[in-house]
């Protein structure tokens, strides 16, 4: 049996993962850290990533919430809310929230397409290691789900102030997050380094 030697990233123990794995995941024998998870075919991941990106487009202009106080109306999109924080002078907050809540998930999807589309078409992109390194660095900082839950919290906070209507943008954001999440779960980084990755 061919064996791939690696080390556990969390406890440092040397482990040998059988190369022809027919189980879906492999955990560290000492600390139970997830060391290997089988990925889906690249074509599935590409489809899901494109779906997520398409769902993101309407988010830029669809309102997530409408608030009605005594006949006065106010609505906001995901970007407009952060734009108001920027206008209040809190540039750093607006920047970090914009990056983590919205842009990092999108950049991650684009990087994934940069890596996988050429591999799917039979050649390894020149900068694959750079793209992957960026993807890996960003993966801890994507916070779309936190933004999503914060919308629900603000709904509860605001419902005493006036009449609240949930906009289409909110539902779009839920679907965007679901497709984004599925994309990242399906992608197994180990697959892009395999010798036969180009035929995958």
């Amino acid at each position: 049996m061919i064996v791939k030697e690696t080390a556990c990233k969390e406890c440092g123990v040397i482990v040998n993962i059988p190369k022809k794995i027919n189980f879906s995941q492999y955990r560290c024998p000492r600390c139970n850290a997830l060391l290997y998870r089988r990925g889906q075919p690249f074509s599935y991941i590409i489809t899901m990533a494109v779906t997520a990106l398409l769902l993101f487009v309407p988010l830029t202009f669809l309102p997530i919430l409408d608030l009605d106080i005594m006949g006065l109306q106010s609505s906001s999109t995901l970007f407009e809310a952060l734009w108001m924080v920027y206008k209040d002078g809190f540039y750093f907050i607006a920047f970090v929230a914009m990056m983590t809540g919205l842009l990092i998930p999108v950049i991650m999807l684009i990087l994934l397409l940069f890596i996988l589309v050429p591999l799917k078409h039979g050649y390894r992109p020149e900068k694959v290691s750079l793209y992957y390194r960026l993807y890996e660095k960003m993966s801890d900082w994507g916070m779309a789900e936190v933004y999503l839950i914060s919308i629900i919290v603000s709904m509860v906070k605001l419902h005493g102030m006036g009449t609240l209507h949930i906009g289409l943008g909110f539902y779009m954001f839920i679907f965007f997050f679901i497709t984004f999440y599925i994309t990242t779960v399906w992608f197994n980084p180990d697959d892009i380094w395999l010798d036969d990755a180009v035929d995958n």
Partner: protein, 216 residues
């Protein structure tokens, strides 16, 4: 069972693409990132970021998170004020969510980080597995403390009714966000493998003293 770690085997792992290298390599030939056996200056960086985060948490909890300006006047509320407001108005669920995300989680994360650092300094190897469990928890819940920042942004974005009612971002938001970001960086720079290395250090120490005894 005796485990062989990468230090004993003289190997180092690329943390980005998980390729195992000999010690002579400094840059991963597969993904191009720098390779170190352990994250360099892990303990010093984690300490300094954790201390900085603790300092920023003080203004974050004392200053107002957002200011509601309405005909009735100005109302500046801290994080705790928000939690109390919801508990008093029968929305206990949402009060607990905000309390958990904005007050409990940041303090819990920093306490765990300090506990892990002390475990390393005191060479408490029998706590390594428990420490790793705690580390995984704080790594997982790390981003959820950003919840309040997004809530403030949404409230500010939505409640813009000129003279009737406006919500403005409060000064605590920036301190809170810095505390959260620094805690996340601290967690990222902490190398959980150091928890397990303490055992190695002990074993080495034991062997050395045994050898010393036989020679005498």
């Amino acid at each position: 069972m005796q485990w062989i770690t990468d230090i004993e085997a003289g190997k180092q792992l690329c943390l980005h693409c998980r390729k195992l290298h000999p010690l002579s390599v400094h840059r991963c030939d597969r993904c191009g990132s720098e390779v170190h056996q352990r994250i360099p200056h892990s303990i010093a960086i984690t300490w300094s970021l954790a201390i900085a985060a603790i300092i920023f948490l003080i203004p974050a909890n004392l200053l107002p998170m957002m200011v509601v300006k309405s005909i009735a006047g100005e109302d500046a509320g801290t994080i705790m004020d928000g939690v109390i407001y919801f508990l008093e108005h029968g929305e206990a669920g949402i009060g607990i969510v905000i309390f958990a995300a904005s007050i409990f989680v940041p303090f819990f994360k920093l306490t765990v980080l300090l506990y892990l650092l002390l475990n390393i300094h005191l060479n408490r190897s029998h706590r390594a597995k428990f420490g790793l469990k705690l580390y995984r928890i704080i790594h997982f819940i790390g981003k959820w403390s950003m919840l309040d920042i997004f809530v403030v942004a949404l409230m500010v974005g939505l409640v813009q009714f000129k003279n009737l009612a406006t919500i403005v971002t409060g000064p605590a938001a920036i301190a809170f966000m810095l505390a959260v970001v620094m805690t996340m960086f601290a967690t990222e720079h902490f190398d959980p493998r150091l928890l397990f290395d303490t055992e190695l250090k002990k074993r080495k120490h034991k062997n050395e003293s045994n050898e010393g005894n036989t020679h005498v």
